[in-house]
């Protein structure tokens, strides 16, 4: 499953980059995130609650930042186990460029993989739910940075 998108953020690239690396911002932006602990360098531990179709699950897992190019791009990847609900893994490559108006152009490319009941029962809903969640993340992020 792949999702792509972009957001024009009315803030300079340095600010956007800083926020992308700030656990508190990430916690606010990850839909359903109840806990996010740890640090950028050692990795984060997260607890995320989600509902996909008939499946409700609490995911416990790791959030890691990889392939970091300062001020330009990174890959944020999460892998969570939701017990019998299954598992969810996802990578988002996030890239920043300066926009003409002094703001920042954020583009993202998400790849997600699901297993267990989530895949079996939520199958027909997964595409739209995943798109909704990634949209929600970047909408919230934009709002968070711009306020």
């Amino acid at each position: 499953m792949e999702m792509k998108g972009d957001r024009r953020i009315a803030a300079p690239r340095t600010i956007v980059w800083e926020k992308l690396n700030d656990p508190d911002t990430l916690k606010i932006c990850i839909p359903g995130c109840e806990e996010l602990t740890g640090s950028k360098d050692e990795g984060f531990e997260a607890v995320v609650k989600q509902k996909v179709g008939p499946v409700r699950a609490t995911f416990k897992g790791k959030v890691e930042l990889r392939d970091v190019i300062e001020m330009q791009s990174y890959t944020i990847s999460g892998s969570g186990k939701g017990g019998v609900a299954g598992f969810a893994n996802g990578d988002a490559r996030v890239m920043l460029t300066d926009a003409e108006d002094g703001g920042t152009e954020l583009t993202y490319d998400v790849q997600a993989k699901l297993g267990g009941k989530l895949a079996q029962l939520g199958g027909r809903l997964i595409g739209s739910v995943a798109k909704k969640l990634s949209d929600e993340f970047f909408d919230r992020f934009k709002a968070e940075v711009e306020t």
């Binding site: 008939p54 019998v84 598992f87 993989k113 699901l114 297993g115 267990g116 895949a119 079996q120 029962l121």
Partner: protein, 810 residues
């Protein structure tokens, strides 16, 4: 109308192997005369239905034993993953949790693998072997794996708790340390070099590779042929969706050291034998009870790991343990069906005479090999109902990271029927023949029977062309053009698909019947088959009633308790009526012989002088008579037992025709008519056979139009895990069927029985697909794969439009 079986004549082209035909001397019984039949052939209403529809059925989950606890399984969310460790501590902390067992525990207790015997074993099954000619490696089916999980849903630990909810909660807390491995779910992918390997013993995942027929003669015929056609098909994977999910209850009696397992299945005797082997106990220490069963279709014939696990757990904990699968578990881990890739080629001469056929069949057995029946059955029938002088087949079975497949409703036959019927239709179109004429020209004719096909299967009897004519008459074939115009006027595309079929019914060769007449005139029959809706209690009673000249009501059929039923092959492969009918007829003859002896002694006359009429032996020229109940006393009841071994397959056959209307805008499909003629051999109860055929058609239509165990190849996940995502046929989306039964008797058994029911399914995949293609042909569509959903039709129409555009714009 009943036709007499052809008497075996010396001049038959086909040399019949010994043990093929029914042997009157060895059986001590001749073909049964029609004059005896009062009940056989009558649409007797099913005796079991009152019980079933008034809630008095005894299904597995209805049983409870005081103190029972519940099992829940920890299942793999990955298609392929190494088990680095299993930590049950968090689960064991929860209240009510009695135990968590893993594969390591099972190994420590000496549990063995389920002794599946996947290679069909009668004398007339085709011989499937490993590529080196040896017996295939099947992948040991341990109750819980130790090394790795090989498919999504594979159980890796079992949790036992005092309530079902607590067991499920605890299962969620068992921490499995997984190491994900690369996976492969498609069989053609799995045989590519470098594909992920499931078993080190089988590096290329190919556990079976066998050749059948004559490769050189086939090559030669292809070379000189005027026409050659070729096609590739995938017959999609489906699952049985039994209305009663699989369930079991294990109870251990410490005093006697005996276990009792309540578990609905396709045959309790196999369950007992194989589960005793898994547990390493004497089979006498295990009693299996299988009473009413809510659907089988093959899925319940083989042993499930959960049955062994709860037996084991109940012995360890000394408490009864119950397991009832959820619908999700059923979708994921019931044995599944079909999943065959086939490439077929046909050579024809300039007049449309079939000259030769090639087939390359690749069967996806899943992560372990439970049954090779689908590949085997299909292999013997690649040429279908047609006389094709030479053929060559490569049959392969392949491991993949998917749930195991098993014989499912007409194992292996719908697949090859689909292939040959679609190929014939392609040949007709590409070479310019009328599809019906082409079929007629090449059908095996009645005077070729018994007919040996190009891969060695011997078709016992049948009037194939007559079936086709009858079905076309039933369908009112000449009206098609007018109906098509009428549909067009309503904005609909009408299509018609016809398929001929022949299928083989083989099955486990041994069956046993015990018949006893009580002094009060009750007849009890003990038999080792297992109905799951087929009405054995009625049709079997009809046979015994006629043999003993007693009323049907007097006959009771007892089955499903291994303490009573000692031998029996269960119900699969359309074997039950034929095997049970034969052995019950033999046992009845034995019983009458004993009764005659007793009557002779009583009358003081030679036994052979007595007449047997209306259930009584009559002393000629007197008014003295003795009924069977008179001849049975409490101290010396009339009771016999007979075991029969019968290897020869029978070949039910027929023709089915489907009509569809498609709305080209919404791409909605409606099945508007369906007609079929099914030669089932002797029909014991037409009411039951029709019911079975109707269910069989719905099941075949279901696969063609809705059903699909869709697997996402990138994640290996089965993505249709509920009735929300897995489409099923329903009463409102199939029409009323026009079915007719043909009875061309089989010479292989005394009653001339073939088999009924599966004949509904066998041609249905082909008829539906051909009808859809017929409707869409004017719009340029030539191929479509199952299930044919409106989305698939829309895609087919879109690509046909695109292709047309490209042709127009050079």
């Amino acid at each position: 109308m009943t036709q007499k079986p052809g008497k075996l004549r010396a001049e038959f082209r086909t040399e019949l192997p010994s043990g093929w035909a029914f042997d009157e001397i060895e059986a001590r019984i001749g073909p049964i005369r029609d004059q005896l039949f009062k009940q056989i052939g009558q649409p007797v209403r099913r005796k079991e239905d009152r019980r079933l529809v008034t809630g008095r059925g005894r299904f597995t989950d209805d049983f409870s034993v005081p103190g029972e606890c519940y099992a829940a399984l920890v299942r793999s969310p990955y298609p392929h993953a190494r088990i680095k460790g299993i930590d049950p501590s968090a689960a064991l902390e929860l209240p009510g949790v009695l135990a968590v067992y893993t594969g390591v525990d099972a190994l420590a207790d000496g549990l063995g693998p389920i002794p599946h015997s996947p290679v069909p074993s009668t004398k007339f099954d085709v011989r499937l072997t490993a590529p080196d000619g040896e017996a295939p490696f099947i992948g040991p089916h341990l109750l819980l794996p130790i090394d790795k999980a090989r498919h999504v849903g594979e159980a890796v630990a079992v949790v036992i708790a005092d309530t079902k909810a607590r067991a499920e909660d605890a299962a969620e807390r068992v921490d499995v340390d997984w190491e994900e491995l690369p996976h492969v779910t498609d069989s053609l992918e799995a045989i590519r070099p470098g594909s992920p390997r499931l078993w080190d013993e089988v590096p290329d995942n190919t556990l079976v590779c066998s050749h059948f027929g004559d490769a050189d003669a086939t090559d030669a015929a292809f070379q000189s042929a005027a026409h050659r056609v070729r096609a590739k098909f995938h017959i999609n994977r489906v699952t049985a969706v039994t209305i009663e999910p699989r369930a079991a209850l294990a109870d251990y009696d410490k005093a006697s050291a005996r276990s009792t397992l309540y578990a609905g299945s396709g045959g309790a005797v196999r369950q007992k034998r194989e589960l005793a082997s898994v547990l390493g106990i004497d089979p006498d220490d295990l009693r299996v009870l299988s009473y009413d069963v809510g659907g089988n279709f093959g899925a319940r014939n083989r042993v499930y790991v959960e049955f062994g696990l709860i037996l084991w757990a109940s012995r360890k904990l000394e408490r009864p343990v119950k397991f009832t699968a959820t619908r999700s578990e059923a979708f994921l881990t019931d044995y599944q069906g079909r999943d065959l890739h086939t490439t077929v080629e046909l050579a024809l001469d300039e007049n449309g005479q079939f000259l030769a056929m090639r087939a390359d069949n690749v069967s996806n057995v899943g992560a372990r090999c439970v049954s090779l029946s689908p590949l085997s059955k299909g292999s013997g029938l690649i040429t279908g109902s047609y006389h094709i002088p030479v053929a060559h087949l490569v049959a392969r079975a392949v491991f993949t990271n998917t749930m195991c497949t098993q014989a499912y409703r007409s194992s292996g036959r719908p697949e090859v029927t689909y292939a040959i019927e679609r190929l014939v239709e392609i040949a007709a179109e590409q070479c310019g023949f009328d599809p019906i004429d082409l079929r007629r020209r090449n059908l095996v004719s009645a005077d070729q029977m018994p007919y040996r096909n190009a891969v060695g299967a011997i078709y016992d009897s049948g009037a194939y062309e007559e079936n086709m004519d009858k079905a076309m008459a039933l369908f009112q074939w000449p009206d098609i053009a007018a109906r098509r115009d009428d549909a067009r006027a309503r904005g609909k595309l009408l299509g018609v698909g016809l398929a001929n079929y022949v299928e083989s019914s083989i099955g486990s060769p041994v069956e046993r019947a015990e018949i006893a007449v009580s002094p009060d005139g009750e007849v009890e029959v003990v038999i080792g088959t297992q109905p799951s809706g087929q009405g054995h209690e009625t049709s079997f009673a009809q046979v015994v009633a006629d043999m003993l000249q007693m009323p049907v009501e007097a006959v009771t059929i007892t089955l499903g308790d291994t303490d009573i039923v000692s031998v029996g092959g269960g119900s699969h492969s359309g074997r039950s009526m034929r095997h049970a009918g034969t052995v019950m007829t033999m046992a009845s003859a034995d019983l009458l012989a004993e009764a005659r002896r007793r009557a002779g002694a009583e009358f003081g006359t030679p036994a052979e002088d007595l007449a047997f009429e209306d259930g009584a032996f009559k002393c000629r020229a007197t008014n003295r008579f003795l009924t069977l109940s008179d001849l049975s006393t409490a101290t010396a009841p009339l009771a016999v037992a007979r075991t029969n071994e019968m290897h020869a397959p029978v070949f039910p056959n027929g023709t089915a025709i489907c009509e569809v209307e498609i709305d080209p805008d919404s791409c909605q499909i409606e099945i508007t008519r369906y007609a079929s003629v099914d030669d089932v051999g002797r029909c014991i109860n037409p009411l039951i056979v029709h019911g079975q055929s109707h269910g069989g058609i719905a099941q075949g239509v279901g696969q063609a139009m809705w059903e699909d165990c869709a697997i996402d190849p990138s994640s290996g996940q089965q993505i249709a895990g509920s009735l929300l995502d897995y489409g099923m046929p329903r009463a409102d989306n199939v029409p009323s069927f026009d079915c007719e039964i043909a009875e061309v008797l089989s010479p292989t058994n005394p009653l001339g029985i073939k088999a009924g029911g599966e004949g509904g399914t066998t041609p249905a995949l082909a008829t539906v697909t051909l009808a859809v293609l017929d409707a869409l042909r004017p719009l340029g569509v030539r191929d479509i794969s199952m299930p044919i959903t409106p989305e698939r039709i829309w895609q087919a129409l879109a690509s046909a439009r695109e292709a047309n555009m490209q042709e127009l714009v050079p």
